[in-house]
């Protein structure tokens, strides 16, 4: 019991710290990627290649004046950002990042650590999928209330659009989630991944009797709309609505909406990974060398960085590139250690998959224009919803037929 509490606290602290860092740096990555898509360097001034930009942003947001407009509906105005960030962060508690972790009995000087066995996850609910759906459906209140309580017509329109959009896209999203659940026959996220063990052909997106490719695409599209991202970012369409539902918010209250959006992006990417892409399962078995992939990738990156550092075009790159090269090479070596491979490799594949989906998010933001409002509604009700329904029906029939 005691070790359970200690372990849970340690895990919670680690997950929270990693999540917060990822949130901050996801925004840096987004700005960099968008900048390179648009052929400009992006953040460059704060730290090497703008790497300290998130820190500067945090300091800026904390020290800004926190305005409380006199005409707002105070309790709801203050409640809204709190709701948004809480509901966004709470979902991470049920997401599994890797398999069960074994931690041998260990003696460090006077400190004795007994044998510990713990899942790389804060808590394994047997209704994990439903928990995330519930949290995301409660998150709508944050945005809707922010729009309404601001007492501003742009904010109200943004809030209205957002709630209509989220209600509409939740239906195809739930239907798209239901189909892989039929294949895996569980609601627990951990068992969901365990049912997809093996290779890429056992992932739900390619797994028989009915590959869930359609359902995966529907889920991704609906997820973009649920998180209010381009091309579905009508709630904050800046050329029509100033800034949409958060027009009247400043300082940390604005930051919590911002963080909620990025936290939702991460949650949704984790969901897509767990439901369709096999979670932390490698694309092909370790017997065929999948355990060498991270070493090859990091080693290649390290050598490339060292090479560029040797022939750097700018003066400061002589210093920065070799540092990154050495860090990458050390990482490549760490992945070869058998002691850490059992948990580091699954973690690598999980992060790689989540990262790929997050990159897709950013890529699409740099590529597609925004929907018009009637197009948005017609798209979900007349196309996405029937497609998801048909897919679910076909999956259900095939699963029932195969079970016979």
């Amino acid at each position: 019991m005691e070790s359970f509490i200690v372990l849970t606290v340690i895990k919670a602290v680690i997950v929270f710290a990693v999540l917060m860092t990822t949130l901050a740096y996801l925004q840096w990555v987004e700005r960099k990627v968008i900048a390179h898509i648009q052929v400009r360097p992006g953040p460059y001034r704060v730290g090497p290649h703008g790497l300290l930009q998130p820190l500067a942003d945090v300091i800026k947001l904390i020290t800004k004046e926190d305005l409380l407009p006199p005409y707002v509906s105070k309790p709801f105005y203050l409640l809204a950002p709190f709701l948004a960030i809480t509901m966004a962060l709470i979902s991470i508690s049920v997401i599994p990042f890797g398999p069960v972790l074994q931690f041998g009995p260990l003696d460090i000087g006077p400190l004795h650590i007994p044998h510990v066995e713990t899942a790389m996850q804060l808590t394994d609910l047997n209704i994990g999928v439903l928990f995330i759906l519930a949290a995301s459906s409660m998150g709508v209140y944050g945005i809707a209330l922010a729009g309404w309580s601001s007492n501003n017509k742009y904010a109200l329109l943004g809030g209205l659009r957002s709630s209509a959009q989220m209600i509409s896209y939740e239906l195809p999203m739930s239907l798209a989630i239901a189909a892989p659940l039929l294949l895996s026959n569980t609601l627990s996220l951990r068992k969901l991944v365990e049912s997809q063990q093996g290779s890429i052909l056992d992932w739900n997106v390619l797994h028989g009797p009915f590959p869930q490719i359609i359902s995966f695409l529907v889920f991704l599209i609906a997820a973009f709309a649920e998180t209010n991202r381009v091309p579905f970012d009508l709630p904050e369409a800046e050329n029509e609505l100033v800034a949409g539902f958060h027009t009247e918010y400043s300082s940390m209250k604005f930051a919590s909406f911002f963080m909620a959006e990025y936290a939702n992006m991460i949650t949704v990417s984790c969901m897509a990974t767990l439901l369709f892409l096999g979670g932390w399962v490698a694309p092909w078995p370790a017997a065929y060398g999948s355990s060498l992939v991270p070493t090859v990738i990091f080693g290649g990156a390290g050598v490339l960085a060292l090479y560029h550092g040797a022939a750097a075009a700018r003066k400061r790159d002589h210093a920065t590139f070799p540092v990154f090269g050495v860090v990458f090479l050390i990482l490549a070596g760490v992945f070869l250690l058998p002691a850490v491979q059992s948990w580091l490799l699954p973690l690598f594949w999980f992060c790689a998959k989540v990262g790929a989906i997050l990159f897709l998010y950013i890529w699409i933001r740099g590529t597609l224009p925004r929907f018009r409002y009637d197009q948005l509604m017609a798209f979900t009700w007349k196309f996405l919803f029937p497609v998801a329904m048909m897919n679910l029906l076909a999956t259900g029939f095939l699963v029932a037929w195969m079970a016979k």
């Binding site: 709801f76 609910l125 047997n126 209704i127 439903l130 928990f131 759906l133 519930a134 459906s137 409660m138 709508v140 209140y141 809707a144 209330l145 729009g147 309404w148 109200l156 809030g159 209205l160 709630s163 209509a164 989220m166 209600i167 939740e170 609601l187």
Partner: protein, 165 residues
């Protein structure tokens, strides 16, 4: 622990329910209703019915109430003004309420003696599998009838919406 949690969330549920009626602004009332739904979900969870708890949050607190809030915001409903109550409700309201509550408590006491009550966590049919089985075997007829009823309601809403054009 269970009893403390039950008391806390039961109190929240009752306070929110009273707040639904007391509040004058529709948005405040709707949000109090969300509070009621949320605390009911926690009570289900305490009983061990986790699937029903999740469904309660997703369907009622999530979907239905968001729709309510959406409509209230769309119509931009303002705060209601207070009107004078009739003499009958002024004098008979509270006694009648107490009478009703007493009657309900009495019948609950009579019909469900303590031995048949569900204990905290003692309810085992709360998982998704058990509920699915019950819905599609024991309660198949009520389930199908309800779905037809909802279909009729949707058709009715369509007809009403078409008439306005």
């Amino acid at each position: 622990m269970d009893v403390i949690l039950f008391l806390v969330f039961a109190t929240i549920a009752v306070v929110c329910a009273i707040n639904v009626v007391v509040q004058r602004h529709p948005i405040s009332s709707a949000l109090s209703l969300v509070g009621v739904m949320g605390s009911l979900a926690v009570l289900y969870l305490l009983l061990g019915a986790e699937f029903i708890a999740a469904a309660q949050v997703i369907v009622y607190a999530g979907a239905v109430m968001v729709l309510f809030v959406f409509v209230i915001m769309l119509l931009n409903a303002g705060a209601e003004s207070k009107k004078g109550r009739s003499y009958m409700s002024q004098f008979l309201g509270v006694p009648l309420l107490i009478f009703l509550l007493g009657l309900t408590a009495f019948f609950v006491q009579r019909m469900f003696p303590e031995t048949t009550m569900v204990k905290f966590g003692g309810f085992t049919g709360g998982g998704a599998e058990a509920i699915g089985r019950a819905l599609f075997t024991t309660y198949l007829l009520p389930f199908e009838v309800t779905s037809i009823l909802i279909l009729i309601a949707i058709l009715g809403a369509l007809v009403l919406a078409k008439r306005g054009e």
